[in-house]
Protein backbone atom coordinates (compact mmCIF):
# COMPACT_ATOMS: atom_id res chain seq x y z
CA UNK A 1 0.00 0.00 0.00
CA UNK A 2 1.00 3.60 -0.42
CA UNK A 3 2.64 5.29 2.58
CA UNK A 4 -0.40 7.43 3.27
CA UNK A 5 -2.37 8.41 6.36
CA UNK A 6 -3.93 4.96 6.72
CA UNK A 7 -0.43 3.47 6.61
CA UNK A 8 0.75 5.87 9.32
CA UNK A 9 -2.15 4.89 11.56
CA UNK A 10 -1.48 1.21 10.84
CA UNK A 11 2.17 1.79 11.74
CA UNK A 12 1.14 3.18 15.12
CA UNK A 13 -1.13 0.18 15.80
CA UNK A 14 1.53 -2.33 14.84
CA UNK A 15 4.16 -0.51 16.86
CA UNK A 16 1.97 -0.53 19.96
CA UNK A 17 1.33 -4.24 19.45
CA UNK A 18 4.96 -5.19 18.86
CA UNK A 19 6.24 -3.14 21.80
CA UNK A 20 3.61 -4.78 24.00
CA UNK A 21 4.67 -8.19 22.69
CA UNK A 22 8.38 -7.51 23.30
CA UNK A 23 7.93 -5.60 26.52
CA UNK A 24 9.47 -8.28 28.73
CA UNK A 25 12.44 -8.65 26.39
CA UNK A 26 13.09 -4.90 26.39
CA UNK A 27 12.79 -4.80 30.16
CA UNK A 28 15.35 -7.58 30.42
CA UNK A 29 17.76 -5.91 27.99
CA UNK A 30 17.50 -2.68 29.94
CA UNK A 31 17.81 -4.40 33.30
CA UNK A 32 21.11 -5.90 32.20
CA UNK A 33 22.77 -2.59 31.36
CA UNK A 34 20.38 0.16 32.44
CA UNK A 35 17.61 0.91 34.88
CA UNK A 36 15.17 -1.71 33.59
CA UNK A 37 12.34 0.63 32.66
CA UNK A 38 12.66 0.80 28.86
CA UNK A 39 10.05 -1.84 27.98
CA UNK A 40 7.65 -0.57 30.62
CA UNK A 41 8.03 3.08 29.64
CA UNK A 42 7.72 2.50 25.92
CA UNK A 43 4.71 0.22 26.36
CA UNK A 44 2.97 2.86 28.47
CA UNK A 45 3.89 5.50 25.89
CA UNK A 46 2.51 3.63 22.90
CA UNK A 47 -0.68 2.71 24.75
CA UNK A 48 -1.24 6.42 25.28
CA UNK A 49 -0.35 7.07 21.63
CA UNK A 50 -2.88 4.46 20.50
CA UNK A 51 -5.63 6.02 22.59
CA UNK A 52 -4.89 9.45 21.17
CA UNK A 53 -4.75 8.18 17.59
CA UNK A 54 -8.03 6.28 18.02
CA UNK A 55 -9.70 9.39 19.38
CA UNK A 56 -8.82 11.68 16.48
CA UNK A 57 -8.96 11.80 12.70
CA UNK A 58 -6.04 12.70 10.47
CA UNK A 59 -5.47 14.09 6.99
CA UNK A 60 -1.75 13.38 6.60
CA UNK A 61 0.93 10.95 7.84
CA UNK A 62 2.71 13.98 9.33
CA UNK A 63 -0.29 14.75 11.55
CA UNK A 64 -0.24 11.18 12.87
CA UNK A 65 3.49 11.35 13.57
CA UNK A 66 3.04 14.61 15.45
CA UNK A 67 0.52 13.06 17.85
CA UNK A 68 2.90 10.13 18.41
CA UNK A 69 5.62 12.66 19.27
CA UNK A 70 3.65 14.67 21.80
CA UNK A 71 2.20 11.58 23.49
CA UNK A 72 5.60 9.87 23.82
CA UNK A 73 7.18 13.04 25.19
CA UNK A 74 4.46 13.47 27.79
CA UNK A 75 4.03 9.85 28.90
CA UNK A 76 7.39 8.08 28.69
CA UNK A 77 9.32 8.91 31.84
CA UNK A 78 12.74 7.69 30.71
CA UNK A 79 15.19 8.91 28.07
CA UNK A 80 13.17 7.11 25.38
CA UNK A 81 10.40 9.73 25.74
CA UNK A 82 12.39 12.77 24.68
CA UNK A 83 14.52 10.75 22.23
CA UNK A 84 11.76 8.94 20.29
CA UNK A 85 9.47 11.93 20.85
CA UNK A 86 11.96 14.23 19.16
CA UNK A 87 12.48 11.67 16.38
CA UNK A 88 8.73 11.60 15.60
CA UNK A 89 8.44 15.36 15.93
CA UNK A 90 11.22 15.99 13.40
CA UNK A 91 9.82 13.24 11.20
CA UNK A 92 6.41 14.93 11.28
CA UNK A 93 7.96 18.24 10.28
CA UNK A 94 9.84 16.59 7.40
CA UNK A 95 6.64 14.86 6.22
CA UNK A 96 4.94 18.25 6.13
CA UNK A 97 1.54 18.34 4.44
CA UNK A 98 2.22 15.40 2.11
CA UNK A 99 -0.76 13.03 1.98
CA UNK A 100 1.52 10.23 0.83
CA UNK A 101 5.27 9.74 1.30
CA UNK A 102 7.28 9.09 -1.86
CA UNK A 103 10.74 7.53 -1.61
CA UNK A 104 12.60 10.84 -1.32
CA UNK A 105 10.22 12.22 1.30
CA UNK A 106 10.54 8.98 3.25
CA UNK A 107 14.33 9.36 3.27
CA UNK A 108 13.91 12.95 4.44
CA UNK A 109 11.54 11.77 7.20
CA UNK A 110 13.94 9.06 8.41
CA UNK A 111 16.91 11.42 8.21
CA UNK A 112 15.08 14.06 10.24
CA UNK A 113 14.15 11.45 12.85
CA UNK A 114 17.77 10.28 13.17
CA UNK A 115 19.05 13.87 13.31
CA UNK A 116 16.50 14.63 16.02
CA UNK A 117 17.75 11.74 18.13
CA UNK A 118 21.36 12.83 17.62
CA UNK A 119 20.70 16.46 18.50
CA UNK A 120 18.70 15.51 21.58
CA UNK A 121 20.97 12.81 22.96
CA UNK A 122 24.33 14.00 21.57
CA UNK A 123 25.33 10.43 20.78
CA UNK A 124 27.36 9.26 17.78
CA UNK A 125 27.55 5.93 15.99
CA UNK A 126 29.48 3.49 18.18
CA UNK A 127 28.28 4.92 21.52
CA UNK A 128 25.95 1.92 22.03
CA UNK A 129 22.69 3.80 21.67
CA UNK A 130 19.69 3.86 19.36
CA UNK A 131 21.77 5.98 16.98
CA UNK A 132 23.58 2.75 16.06
CA UNK A 133 20.29 1.46 14.63
CA UNK A 134 19.00 4.75 13.20
CA UNK A 135 22.11 5.77 11.29
CA UNK A 136 22.58 2.64 9.13
CA UNK A 137 18.81 2.65 8.56
CA UNK A 138 18.99 6.18 7.15
CA UNK A 139 22.05 5.33 5.03
CA UNK A 140 20.35 2.23 3.60
CA UNK A 141 17.15 4.16 2.90
CA UNK A 142 19.12 6.83 1.05
CA UNK A 143 20.93 4.23 -1.05
CA UNK A 144 17.69 2.41 -1.88
CA UNK A 145 15.94 5.62 -2.91
CA UNK A 146 18.93 6.62 -5.05
CA UNK A 147 18.71 3.24 -6.77
CA UNK A 148 15.11 3.99 -7.67
CA UNK A 149 13.41 1.66 -5.19
CA UNK A 150 9.75 2.09 -4.24
CA UNK A 151 8.85 3.70 -0.89
CA UNK A 152 8.00 0.24 0.50
CA UNK A 153 11.40 -1.08 -0.59
CA UNK A 154 13.15 1.95 0.91
CA UNK A 155 11.37 1.29 4.19
CA UNK A 156 12.33 -2.39 4.13
CA UNK A 157 15.98 -1.51 3.45
CA UNK A 158 15.94 0.84 6.44
CA UNK A 159 14.42 -1.77 8.78
CA UNK A 160 16.90 -4.45 7.66
CA UNK A 161 19.86 -2.15 8.21
CA UNK A 162 18.51 -1.24 11.66
CA UNK A 163 18.62 -4.92 12.63
CA UNK A 164 22.30 -5.15 11.72
CA UNK A 165 22.92 -1.84 13.46
CA UNK A 166 21.25 -3.01 16.67
CA UNK A 167 23.29 -6.22 16.59
CA UNK A 168 26.44 -4.11 16.23
CA UNK A 169 25.83 -2.67 19.71
CA UNK A 170 26.38 -6.06 21.38
CA UNK A 171 30.21 -5.89 21.69
CA UNK A 172 30.35 -2.16 22.46
CA UNK A 173 31.18 -0.30 25.66
CA UNK A 174 28.50 2.36 26.17
CA UNK A 175 29.52 6.00 26.03
CA UNK A 176 26.07 7.54 26.62
CA UNK A 177 23.17 6.86 28.94
CA UNK A 178 22.88 4.80 32.06
CA UNK A 179 24.88 1.90 30.55
CA UNK A 180 27.94 4.17 30.36
CA UNK A 181 28.31 3.78 34.14
CA UNK A 182 28.95 0.07 33.65
CA UNK A 183 32.10 0.27 31.51
CA UNK A 184 33.23 -3.15 30.24
CA UNK A 185 30.30 -4.84 31.94
CA UNK A 186 28.01 -3.53 29.17
CA UNK A 187 29.92 -5.61 26.60
CA UNK A 188 27.91 -8.56 25.31
CA UNK A 189 24.53 -6.88 25.83
CA UNK A 190 22.36 -5.25 23.19
CA UNK A 191 21.32 -1.65 23.60
CA UNK A 192 17.58 -1.64 24.40
CA UNK A 193 16.93 1.60 22.49
CA UNK A 194 18.58 0.19 19.37
CA UNK A 195 16.40 -2.91 19.68
CA UNK A 196 13.17 -0.94 20.11
CA UNK A 197 14.17 1.14 17.08
CA UNK A 198 14.24 -2.12 15.12
CA UNK A 199 10.71 -2.99 16.29
CA UNK A 200 9.42 0.45 15.37
CA UNK A 201 10.90 0.38 11.87
CA UNK A 202 9.80 -3.20 11.30
CA UNK A 203 6.25 -2.21 12.26
CA UNK A 204 6.41 0.48 9.59
CA UNK A 205 7.31 -2.18 7.01
CA UNK A 206 4.58 -4.54 8.18
CA UNK A 207 2.01 -1.75 7.95
CA UNK A 208 2.92 -0.97 4.32
Amino acid sequence: MALDTAWAIGWVRRTAATIDEHRAELVTLDREIGDGDHGENLDRGFRAVLEAVDAASFDTPGAVLKVVATKLISTVGGAAGPLFGTAYLKAAQAAGDATELDADTLVAVLTAARDGVVSRGKASVGDKTMVDAWSPAVDAAGAAAAAGDSPEQVLAAAADAAVTGAESTDPLVARKGRASYLGERAVGHRDPGAQSTVYILRAAVDAA
Partner: protein, 240 residues
Protein backbone atom coordinates in the same frame (compact mmCIF):
# COMPACT_ATOMS: atom_id res chain seq x y z
CA UNK B 1 16.21 40.46 40.01
CA UNK B 2 14.41 37.30 41.10
CA UNK B 3 15.95 34.04 39.97
CA UNK B 4 13.66 31.05 40.46
CA UNK B 5 15.01 27.53 40.69
CA UNK B 6 13.48 24.37 39.24
CA UNK B 7 14.67 20.99 40.53
CA UNK B 8 14.23 18.15 38.03
CA UNK B 9 14.79 14.65 39.37
CA UNK B 10 13.80 11.09 38.50
CA UNK B 11 12.48 10.86 42.04
CA UNK B 12 9.70 13.02 43.50
CA UNK B 13 11.25 12.54 46.94
CA UNK B 14 14.66 13.79 45.79
CA UNK B 15 13.13 16.83 44.08
CA UNK B 16 10.97 17.87 47.03
CA UNK B 17 13.75 17.04 49.49
CA UNK B 18 16.24 19.17 47.58
CA UNK B 19 13.76 22.03 47.52
CA UNK B 20 13.30 21.74 51.30
CA UNK B 21 17.04 21.68 51.87
CA UNK B 22 17.66 24.71 49.68
CA UNK B 23 14.69 26.61 51.09
CA UNK B 24 16.15 26.32 54.59
CA UNK B 25 18.88 28.69 53.46
CA UNK B 26 16.95 30.71 50.94
CA UNK B 27 13.48 31.34 52.30
CA UNK B 28 12.53 33.98 49.74
CA UNK B 29 13.65 32.21 46.57
CA UNK B 30 10.93 30.65 44.42
CA UNK B 31 11.87 26.96 44.37
CA UNK B 32 9.84 24.36 42.51
CA UNK B 33 10.20 20.58 42.46
CA UNK B 34 9.53 18.54 39.31
CA UNK B 35 10.36 14.98 40.28
CA UNK B 36 9.08 11.59 39.16
CA UNK B 37 6.61 10.62 36.47
CA UNK B 38 3.00 11.77 36.31
CA UNK B 39 1.81 8.50 37.85
CA UNK B 40 4.23 8.77 40.76
CA UNK B 41 6.93 6.46 39.40
CA UNK B 42 10.64 6.94 38.83
CA UNK B 43 11.38 9.03 35.77
CA UNK B 44 11.05 12.59 34.56
CA UNK B 45 7.89 14.29 33.43
CA UNK B 46 7.62 16.68 30.51
CA UNK B 47 4.33 17.94 31.97
CA UNK B 48 5.77 18.54 35.44
CA UNK B 49 8.78 20.39 34.03
CA UNK B 50 6.58 22.51 31.77
CA UNK B 51 4.24 23.24 34.70
CA UNK B 52 7.24 24.08 36.92
CA UNK B 53 8.56 26.64 34.45
CA UNK B 54 5.05 28.07 34.22
CA UNK B 55 4.84 28.25 38.02
CA UNK B 56 8.04 30.32 37.99
CA UNK B 57 6.59 32.74 35.43
CA UNK B 58 6.96 35.68 37.83
CA UNK B 59 10.70 35.16 38.23
CA UNK B 60 12.97 37.23 35.99
CA UNK B 61 14.99 34.12 35.22
CA UNK B 62 14.81 30.41 35.97
CA UNK B 63 17.75 28.14 36.70
CA UNK B 64 17.06 24.42 36.21
CA UNK B 65 19.08 21.76 38.00
CA UNK B 66 18.80 18.13 36.89
CA UNK B 67 19.90 14.74 38.14
CA UNK B 68 20.66 11.92 35.70
CA UNK B 69 20.78 12.02 31.88
CA UNK B 70 17.14 11.81 30.86
CA UNK B 71 16.27 14.63 33.24
CA UNK B 72 18.34 16.83 30.93
CA UNK B 73 16.74 15.30 27.81
CA UNK B 74 13.22 15.87 29.09
CA UNK B 75 14.09 19.41 30.21
CA UNK B 76 15.63 20.26 26.83
CA UNK B 77 12.55 18.87 25.11
CA UNK B 78 10.26 20.95 27.31
CA UNK B 79 12.31 24.06 26.48
CA UNK B 80 11.89 23.33 22.75
CA UNK B 81 8.14 23.72 23.19
CA UNK B 82 8.39 27.19 24.77
CA UNK B 83 8.19 30.33 22.69
CA UNK B 84 11.46 32.21 22.28
CA UNK B 85 10.78 34.80 25.00
CA UNK B 86 9.84 32.20 27.59
CA UNK B 87 12.77 30.06 26.63
CA UNK B 88 15.32 32.88 26.84
CA UNK B 89 14.81 33.26 30.58
CA UNK B 90 15.35 29.58 31.38
CA UNK B 91 18.91 28.36 31.98
CA UNK B 92 19.91 24.74 32.52
CA UNK B 93 22.81 24.22 34.92
CA UNK B 94 25.07 21.18 34.63
CA UNK B 95 25.92 21.36 38.33
CA UNK B 96 25.39 18.40 40.67
CA UNK B 97 21.78 18.51 41.85
CA UNK B 98 21.96 18.89 45.62
CA UNK B 99 25.14 20.93 45.99
CA UNK B 100 24.25 23.03 42.96
CA UNK B 101 20.71 23.70 44.20
CA UNK B 102 21.90 24.88 47.61
CA UNK B 103 24.59 27.12 46.14
CA UNK B 104 22.23 28.51 43.49
CA UNK B 105 19.48 29.17 46.04
CA UNK B 106 21.82 31.07 48.35
CA UNK B 107 23.17 33.10 45.41
CA UNK B 108 19.61 33.90 44.37
CA UNK B 109 18.65 34.79 47.96
CA UNK B 110 21.51 37.29 48.10
CA UNK B 111 20.08 39.01 45.03
CA UNK B 112 22.44 37.52 42.51
CA UNK B 113 21.94 38.03 38.78
CA UNK B 114 21.19 34.84 36.87
CA UNK B 115 24.84 34.62 35.76
CA UNK B 116 25.94 34.75 39.40
CA UNK B 117 23.41 32.06 40.32
CA UNK B 118 24.64 29.81 37.51
CA UNK B 119 28.26 30.44 38.52
CA UNK B 120 27.46 29.60 42.14
CA UNK B 121 25.87 26.32 41.06
CA UNK B 122 28.77 25.49 38.75
CA UNK B 123 31.32 26.16 41.46
CA UNK B 124 29.49 23.87 43.90
CA UNK B 125 31.40 20.66 43.23
CA UNK B 126 34.75 22.37 42.69
CA UNK B 127 34.56 24.53 45.80
CA UNK B 128 33.89 21.52 48.03
CA UNK B 129 36.99 19.83 46.66
CA UNK B 130 39.11 22.99 46.97
CA UNK B 131 38.06 23.68 50.52
CA UNK B 132 38.64 20.17 51.76
CA UNK B 133 42.06 20.23 50.15
CA UNK B 134 43.08 23.46 51.85
CA UNK B 135 41.86 22.31 55.24
CA UNK B 136 43.34 18.83 54.99
CA UNK B 137 46.36 17.83 57.09
CA UNK B 138 49.56 19.44 55.91
CA UNK B 139 51.49 16.30 55.02
CA UNK B 140 55.14 17.05 54.40
CA UNK B 141 54.64 20.75 53.83
CA UNK B 142 56.14 22.50 56.87
CA UNK B 143 53.99 25.58 56.46
CA UNK B 144 50.77 23.58 56.05
CA UNK B 145 49.00 22.55 52.91
CA UNK B 146 49.72 24.58 49.82
CA UNK B 147 46.46 26.29 49.05
CA UNK B 148 44.88 25.46 45.72
CA UNK B 149 44.51 28.30 43.22
CA UNK B 150 42.07 30.86 44.51
CA UNK B 151 42.01 29.55 48.05
CA UNK B 152 45.08 31.39 49.32
CA UNK B 153 45.15 34.55 51.38
CA UNK B 154 43.81 37.77 49.96
CA UNK B 155 46.38 39.97 48.24
CA UNK B 156 46.98 43.30 49.91
CA UNK B 157 44.92 42.51 52.96
CA UNK B 158 43.30 45.74 54.11
CA UNK B 159 41.58 44.33 57.16
CA UNK B 160 42.00 41.11 59.09
CA UNK B 161 40.63 39.75 62.32
CA UNK B 162 40.39 36.38 64.04
CA UNK B 163 37.47 35.36 66.20
CA UNK B 164 36.34 32.20 67.96
CA UNK B 165 33.28 30.30 66.76
CA UNK B 166 30.84 30.21 69.69
CA UNK B 167 27.72 28.53 68.38
CA UNK B 168 27.14 24.93 69.44
CA UNK B 169 26.96 23.28 66.05
CA UNK B 170 29.82 25.21 64.43
CA UNK B 171 29.69 26.75 60.98
CA UNK B 172 27.08 24.41 59.50
CA UNK B 173 24.73 25.14 56.64
CA UNK B 174 22.43 27.81 58.10
CA UNK B 175 25.10 30.01 59.74
CA UNK B 176 27.31 29.51 56.70
CA UNK B 177 24.48 30.85 54.56
CA UNK B 178 24.12 33.85 56.90
CA UNK B 179 27.84 34.40 56.57
CA UNK B 180 27.69 34.33 52.76
CA UNK B 181 24.69 36.66 52.67
CA UNK B 182 26.53 39.18 54.84
CA UNK B 183 29.77 38.89 52.85
CA UNK B 184 27.87 39.34 49.60
CA UNK B 185 26.68 42.78 50.72
CA UNK B 186 30.21 44.16 50.37
CA UNK B 187 32.29 44.88 47.33
CA UNK B 188 35.41 43.79 49.16
CA UNK B 189 37.04 40.48 48.39
CA UNK B 190 36.77 38.51 51.62
CA UNK B 191 38.37 35.22 52.66
CA UNK B 192 37.55 33.10 55.64
CA UNK B 193 40.29 30.68 56.66
CA UNK B 194 41.64 30.95 53.13
CA UNK B 195 38.43 30.27 51.20
CA UNK B 196 36.09 32.67 49.44
CA UNK B 197 33.66 34.06 52.03
CA UNK B 198 31.02 34.41 49.30
CA UNK B 199 31.09 30.70 48.45
CA UNK B 200 28.65 28.80 50.61
CA UNK B 201 29.93 25.35 49.80
CA UNK B 202 33.58 26.31 50.30
CA UNK B 203 32.71 27.57 53.77
CA UNK B 204 30.60 24.54 54.62
CA UNK B 205 33.40 22.26 53.48
CA UNK B 206 35.73 23.89 56.05
CA UNK B 207 33.52 22.08 58.60
CA UNK B 208 34.55 24.46 61.38
CA UNK B 209 33.41 23.20 64.81
CA UNK B 210 32.58 25.19 67.94
CA UNK B 211 35.74 26.75 69.36
CA UNK B 212 37.49 26.96 66.00
CA UNK B 213 39.33 30.12 65.11
CA UNK B 214 37.82 31.96 62.20
CA UNK B 215 40.22 34.28 60.41
CA UNK B 216 38.53 36.81 58.19
CA UNK B 217 40.60 38.83 55.75
CA UNK B 218 39.35 41.47 53.38
CA UNK B 219 40.74 43.59 50.60
CA UNK B 220 39.10 46.28 48.53
CA UNK B 221 37.25 49.52 49.23
CA UNK B 222 34.92 48.46 52.07
CA UNK B 223 37.13 45.67 53.46
CA UNK B 224 37.15 47.10 56.97
CA UNK B 225 33.35 47.28 57.13
CA UNK B 226 33.00 43.79 55.71
CA UNK B 227 35.40 42.22 58.18
CA UNK B 228 33.76 44.06 61.10
CA UNK B 229 30.30 42.94 60.06
CA UNK B 230 31.38 39.32 59.66
CA UNK B 231 33.26 39.29 62.96
CA UNK B 232 30.18 40.69 64.69
CA UNK B 233 28.07 37.99 63.06
CA UNK B 234 30.38 35.19 64.23
CA UNK B 235 30.54 36.70 67.77
CA UNK B 236 26.75 36.82 67.91
CA UNK B 237 26.68 33.05 67.45
CA UNK B 238 24.46 33.53 64.39
CA UNK B 239 21.48 33.89 66.69
CA UNK B 240 21.71 30.28 67.79
Amino acid sequence: MTVGILIVSHSAAIATGTVELARQMAADVPLVAAGGTDDGGIGTSFEAITAGIEELADADAVVVLCDLGSAYLTTDTALDFLDDDARARVHVSQAPLVEGAVAAAVASQTGGHVDAVLAAAASAAASEADASRSSSPSGDQPGGAVPADGTGPVDDVAASESVELVNESGLHARPAAEFVKTAARYEASVRVNGVDAKSLLAIMALALPKGATVTIEGSGPDAQDAVEALVALVRSGFGE
